[in-house]
Subunit: 158 residues, 3 copies
């Protein structure tokens, strides 16, 4: 029997959508799927380090870097964001219900050997550099994604 | 020949996205697929009863309950919502073109024996209780979803 | 060996999401997949001609026609749109990094014989007429989509 594969493209930079992606991914890994989360566009923000990293960038790239959330914990909600109050509500409620917040879901994913991939093409577009992203992630493009996805059972775009 | 399966995760709480989900689901059921719509996060709102249901809840859960739309007919649009005017335009135009509005698409889905599943983990997070949701739906978690999805031909995240 | 199939539903009318859809589609075509992009709801705007086309329409349909972007180049961003400034930033940065802007990605898709399909049901809903859309596209409904998708390896909803 061949290993089943789950491949998730995380395009969204929303806290709630990233939570959904990582919950499915961690579940699939627990089911012995080989799991890959391919982070592209705003989804790359989930892989950013929370501290500032000094880099040399052009003006627009610097602006993007400043405006985009630095890491999973700083991402907003897709609905009812209320100028940043929504994420706090969700985090309070996650705590209250003993659910797992996003940064810990990402740690769990790394512990379960889920492949966390950063899309190099959109990193380039948004001016993100490898030093700004978490350790132990992979770098690849759309060809690598398709190689996995054409053999996948569960392929999702989130 | 084994039955084909369509599994849709409805994450979105937007009227138009939920319409797309239910149109695909009803189409797949007409093609004899075994169809499951797994409602999670804001997608749970499509399963809410339109009338108020008295429940005991904590403060944040009560706030979420008040702010989230009560049922399919009250959901907003993902684009051109115009402070609630957009859904009225869409509904007028659905009527004019003899298309099927969302609440009826959900009824059709139930008549076609589509599995409407509410994600228990996010129900808990958003403070939604079973009494607030439609009759004849199922309750399950991510493990049940993955069990279906790994055998599915059409898996979508909406 | 049978040809692999990639089927993308493009629901979104956002420039960045449409870019992602077309980059995946062009990549899959380069991998010899048979590729279909099924444009529905706001995704139809990617297929609109950029010039005004005279049509006879009802009032609401005319309003929708005016408010929706006329073609790929006029679409907004899903994040950081900044009242239309965001797309300009993205386009500047696409140019700077020698990436391919959306209108050219669509041309590439047509050159690679990717099936660009417009969903007739939502065209009707939004009041879009065939004269307003690009040449050499196909017109079909959800049944045609499902016929392709149930045989597809990579099925995505964007």
């Amino acid at each position: 029997m061949t290993t089943k594969k789950t491949n998730i493209i995380l395009f969204s930079g929303d806290y709630d959508k990233a939570m959904a992606a990582y919950i499915i991914a961690n579940g699939a890994a627990a089911f012995d799927h080989e799991v890959t989360i391919f982070h592209t566009f705003w989804g790359l923000n989930a892989l950013r380090k929370s501290e500032h990293v000094a880099t040399k960038k052009g003006f627009i790239e610097k602006m993007f870097g400043k405006m985009m959330p630095r890491g999973a914990d700083k991402m907003g909600l897709s609905k009812m964001n209320f100028a940043g109050f929504g994420p706090k509500m969700i985090k309070d409620i996650i705590k209250k219900h003993n659910a797992v917040p996003l940064p810990q879901l990402i740690e769990m994913a790394q512990e379960q050997d889920i492949n966390l991939v950063a899309c190099t093409m959109t990193m380039d577009l948004l001016g993100l550099q490898t030093e700004e992203l978490l350790e132990n992630i992979q770098y690849a493009g759309v060809a690598a994604y398709l190689g996995e996805a054409e053999e996948g059972q569960v392929n999702l775009f989130i």
